[in-house]
Symmetry: C3
Subunit: 159 residues, 3 copies
């Protein structure tokens, strides 16, 4: 896969839907990534990538994305998903992305991701220069989804 | 990921196997996509893509594919998988792919996908110009798999 | 996806972690693939690909990878993951990759993969010229992960 990732953007969303997959689709639309093809990756920010706000992405683009999602059909349940990134002091080294989803609050999801990022950097012997977490919380009415995603983008993905 | 998707082709298959993974592999062979690398995507038909019959694809090609699959080890159980696409009136906009798999009949799987596509278009404020659904149903003998897939193809994937 | 896969390399690892995802991340680091983006594929060795030892891969590279992983939070449990490849007599044809993970020993995981590869080749009417299996076994202390992976590489993935 040729193209060099030069940007990364995080986003999140939550929604109800008529089915689990529709709730997921609707949450993606809310998050601004409902009209692209997500390719799930596990889960690294390449070196020298700029963290940007979610840009307009070409419809149908194939976008490597680290994401966490949870769908629930239990009315009243609170679900949450979070994705966080951490970048190292040394810009020549890669960053790390961590994900969490579960029956949890937004704050719990965020804390879980922060703990995971800290361990990931400790294991790599690196120091975190910058980090960020996005999360979504959803209280289920009938069928709901919460998701958080970090897209890895190339220039040609942009409109 | 550089290459522009210009074609999409749907297919389905079902089979028995000596293990769950072999049943899946055998169902892929039946579907005509057993010798390529499927990369799971979630799940958009890019604008101006031609819907074609499944072509001969280069062995080992990396092919972004939306797919649904179910494996069962319960003899006598009926399982089904379906994938459907819908394209919008406006050819500059993207289409949507929806998937279903479960302990169900082929007709139930097809209906589920059609309902999901209708909601997806309602949410996008678009009108469906054209749609199609492929499905597979399997009655399990020992270990069985039913799958349906929509491959997203580039010129260079073709033999 | 333009780029032609020309090499494949297998690896495995196991580790403990503070969470399931950290155990997975730590096992990837042990396996030498903790700083790249794995894109899960299902699961073919393209024709005329060289099987090599795991090289140094560019951090953050997007690498199509067939992998099996299992995480457990049951202290004392033995878990294992294995990935195997088989290449056909005819070098113009593709090989196959099979994966196994479960509560099992390393030997059981290896045997499962070999049985699956044999069936895959029988179904394709091909003869295995060469095959290899890598596996990892882990005895869980608190939260553990075992994984095995086969990376599909291009020249530009290498450092």
């Amino acid at each position: 896969m040729t193209t060099r990732i030069t940007m990364a953007a995080a986003t999140s969303g939550h929604a109800e839907g008529g089915s689990g997959l529709n709730a997921f689709d609707n949450a993606l639309l809310v998050a601004g990534i409902g009209n692209i093809n997500l390719i799930k990756v596990s889960s690294i920010v390449p070196p020298e990538v700029a963290i940007i706000d979610l840009p307009k992405i070409r419809p149908g683009a194939l976008v490597p994305t680290a994401y966490a999602a949870i769908t629930s059909e239990t009315p009243g349940e609170t679900i949450a998903a979070a994705v966080g990134y951490a970048l190292p002091d040394d810009p020549a080294k890669n960053g790390v992305i961590m994900e969490f989803h579960g029956v949890a609050t937004r704050a719990e999801a965020e804390r879980a991701v922060e703990t995971m990022l800290a361990e990931a950097f400790r294991m790599r012997g690196e120091i975190i220069r910058e980090q960020g977490v996005v999360a979504a919380e959803h209280r289920v009415e009938r069928i709901g989804c919460a998701l958080a995603a970090m897209t890895l983008l190339t220039e040609e993905n942009l409109v």
